[in-house]
């Protein structure tokens, strides 16, 4: 069991390359259990790549000295599915359609995989799961007909985000990496998403890392920590007020 005072995620010395381009140099940060964190920075800075590196998506390359500890264990060399089974979840910015597979089919497999590797993972019956899926869909005002269609195949941008959030809710990960979960959502949908995200961290066990631009979503959430990624450098701020300054800075940099 992880110790009380130890962070849920600890990243040390993370240096990341994608397509031979250096994106992040020696980043260090940690995420505590029960917190909402946000990762901001200009386009192309490597925010998505950082999230992918945490879950082990095979597109980016970490240097050998880069270390990622999750719940006290070094996961830097684990495969993506092994990290997922330990409770890391990534909501994709642009999820790829899965023709012929429904949400339920994917979720059931994912849950079975979690159950197999984590004895403390709650066991739920198919009926309970279906009820939870329906309730979450209703909370997100998601058309239930979509649940029976090929996952992401004909979904709109907003529907894709909602479906990713729904999966996060049902899978109950320890760490949810939510990549631009707010883009394509209207204001009403944003506030429903915010409700869901607040619910995720309730109880102080689960942690959220949002990747976002300076979105209205952030104003609806109690933020514990800001990560700012620009020019290969990752800066950590504990005061959410800094967001406004960063936003101004990004605007100014954009104009320069």
């Amino acid at each position: 069991m992880p110790k009380k005072d130890q962070p849920l995620l600890l990243v040390e010395n993370l240096t990341l390359r994608k397509d031979k381009k250096l994106l992040i140099k020696k980043a260090c940060f940690s995420l505590s259990a029960g917190t909402i964190n946000v990762l901001v920075g200009p386009n192309g800075a490597g925010k998505t790549s950082l999230a992918e590196a945490i879950i082990g998506y095979p597109s980016s390359h970490l240097t050998r000295t880069s270390k990622i500890f999750f719940r006290g264990k070094d996961i830097s060399r684990l495969k993506m599915e092994e990290r997922a089974r330990q409770g890391i979840f990534l909501a994709f910015q642009n999820p790829f359609p899965l023709e012929g597979l429904t949400l339920e089919q994917v979720l059931l497999r994912a849950i079975r995989a979690r159950e197999k590797s984590d004895p403390s993972y709650p066991r739920r019956s198919l009926r309970q799961l279906r009820q939870e899926i329906e309730a979450t869909a209703a909370a997100l005002q998601l058309d239930p007909a979509l649940l029976r269609q090929s996952l992401h195949l004909t979904f709109s941008g907003g529907e894709r985000k909602k479906i990713e959030l729904l999966q996060c809710q049902i899978l109950r990960p320890h760490l949810a990496l939510l990549d631009e979960i707010d883009s394509g959502l209207d204001l009403a949908a944003l506030s429903r998403a915010a409700n869901l995200i607040r619910g995720l961290v309730e109880g102080g066990e689960r942690t959220v890392l949002l990747i976002s631009h300076f979105s209205p979503l952030l104003r609806q959430l109690p933020l514990d920590q800001i990560l700012w990624l620009a020019n290969q450098e990752l800066k950590v701020f504990s005061d959410p007020q800094v967001l406004q300054e960063l936003e101004k800075k990004e605007l100014a940099d954009g104009k320069a």
Binding site: I55, Y57, E81, F96, G100, A113
Partner: protein, 470 residues
């Protein structure tokens, strides 16, 4: 006897499940090769009427003369003179499950044969090599007047009925393999469903080739009389052999006015079997025929189930599922011949190719003059699991009636790394991800298969998927 060799894991997954094939004593095994004397011997052993013996001899001549069609895949590794054309395992036809020898029961269990005595099964006949050795038919069926026999028994007990229909739909000259089957046929089913009788539960048969270089030439004749209904299921699996085996079956089905028939096949021959099968149905006025054809095994399968839509409003449907792994070629399709007005046909073909396997779709839609307002639809979807596997489509359409409607859709897709990564991010291994994507692709056909077969088919597909991703 040659020692059985274990093949490497990639191509031998099913073999490991099925390989330890039980050894059987045969009380009759013909020497390799085929001539008029052997044909006479087979006919004599079965105590057949002269017309059948003459038909066999005539068919043999046709087989010896006729060539395979020019488009057919190569059969050069198949030496017809090295095959044995007639085998009969010990013991002969048992009457009840208790009389079936334990070794045979174990084999049945291994291939997943549903217990014949179980309530859900209407009747089970299992063909082991060339003779039906176990058969049971529920009394209620017999009381309804349904005849469910081996082809030999059918010929003995209902010679006139058999003569009236036998080889009328697939004459020996139809193709070289049909001629061969007619000459040396052994086993298969004879089914007659009287007018108005609806057989509620599927009748099932399991076929297996169990001897090296055995040829299996079963012959099935099904007559569904007016307004009657039948679902027949044929499942095949064959254990490991070291030399090529040949399976050349002929199935003839007569679906009379207003009747409904579904013929389901799950074919899982081992990877050295040549499976060259002719299946044809004649569908009368307002009748419905459906072929559901799942092909996972064999080295080469050539099979194009055909519906002759002979009566007004007749409907034909073929759902075809094919799977080709390393060294396999599935040359499959369907034929729909519209002979009458308002006839409708639909062909849905789904194929998966991996590790260099090849799936070909070969189909014929023919709408004859006079088949007014006929409608035909073809949907062909191919899935490639890697860049060196192959899929091709050879559709032939002869549309001779201007008020008919014909649609053809075809797609080829590849399982992409992004899809696999997505599922890995949800905790599935790459193998599980690929397997799940394949089952999603095949789902529209698998859902049409009765549950116990669908479960088995899914399991077979999972076994085939094992180790396919590095």
């Amino acid at each position: 006897m040659e020692k059985r060799k274990r093949k490497k894991r990639t191509s031998g997954n099913l073999a490991t499940a099925l390989a330890r094939a039980d050894q059987f004593a045969y009380n009759y095994q013909s020497p390799p090769g085929l001539d008029t004397q052997l044909v006479d011997e087979i006919s004599g052993a079965k105590n057949e009427p002269p017309w059948m013996r003459q038909l066999r001899q005539k068919a043999l001549k046709i087989f010896q003369k006729q060539k395979m069609p020019p488009w057919a895949p190569s059969l050069q590794d198949l030496n017809f003179q090295n095959l044995r054309y007639y085998l009969r395992p010990l013991p002969q036809a048992s009457l009840s499950w208790d009389e079936v020898p334990p070794a045979l029961k174990r084999t049945f269990e291994k291939i997943g044969l549903p217990r014949a005595e179980q309530e859900i099964l209407a009747g089970v006949k299992a063909q082991f090599d060339s003779e039906v050795i176990y058969g049971s038919l529920r009394q209620e069926l017999a009381q309804q007047g349904v005849i469910f026999l081996s082809m030999e028994e059918g010929l003995q007990q209902y010679p006139e009925l058999v003569q009236q229909y036998f080889a009328r739909l697939v004459p020996p000259a139809d193709n070289k393999m049909a001629a061969l089957n007619t000459a040396v046929w052994s086993g298969g089913s004879f089914i007659y469903v009287p007018p108005g009788v609806k057989v509620k539960r599927p009748l099932q048969v399991y076929f297996r080739i169990n001897s090296e270089s055995a040829g299996q030439f079963e012959r099935t004749l099904i007559i569904v009389d007016r307004e009657a209904e039948l679902h027949y299921i044929e499942g095949c699996s064959a254990p490991l052999f070291s030399r090529a085996s040949l399976h050349a079956a002929v199935v003839e089905i007569f679906v009379h006015k207003g009747a409904k028939m579904q013929y389901t096949t799950i074919q899982n021959w081992y990877k050295n079997v040549f499976n060259l099968v002719t299946k044809r149905a004649r569908v009368e006025e307002g009748a419905v025929m459906r072929w559901l054809d799942g092909n996972l095994g064999s080295r080469l399968t050539m099979k194009y189930p055909c519906c002759l839509l002979a009566g007004a409003g007749a409907r034909g449907e073929t759902l075809s599922l094919s799977w080709a792994g390393e060294g396999q070629h599935q040359d499959l399709g369907a034929k729909m011949i519209h002979l009458a007005p308002q006839t409708r046909s639909r062909i849905i073909s789904k194929s998966v190719s991996k590790e260099g396997g090849r799936c070909s779709y070969r189909g014929l839609i023919q709408i004859n003059p006079g088949a007014h307002q006929a409608r035909a639809k073809v949907v062909c979807d191919a899935l490639l699991l890697d860049s060196f596997s192959r899929s091709d489509t050879y559709p032939v359409n002869r549309i001779n009636e201007s008020d008919s409607i014909f649609e053809h859709e075809a797609t080829v897709s590849q399982v992409g790394a992004e899809q696999i990564h997505y599922l890995q991010s949800r905790g599935l291994t790459a193998e599980e991800a690929e397997s799940l994507l394949v089952s999603g692709f095949l789902e529209p056909i698998i859902k049409e298969i009765p549950l116990e077969y669908a479960v088995e088919l899914n399991r077979l597909i999972e076994l085939e998927m094992e180790g396919s991703v590095g």
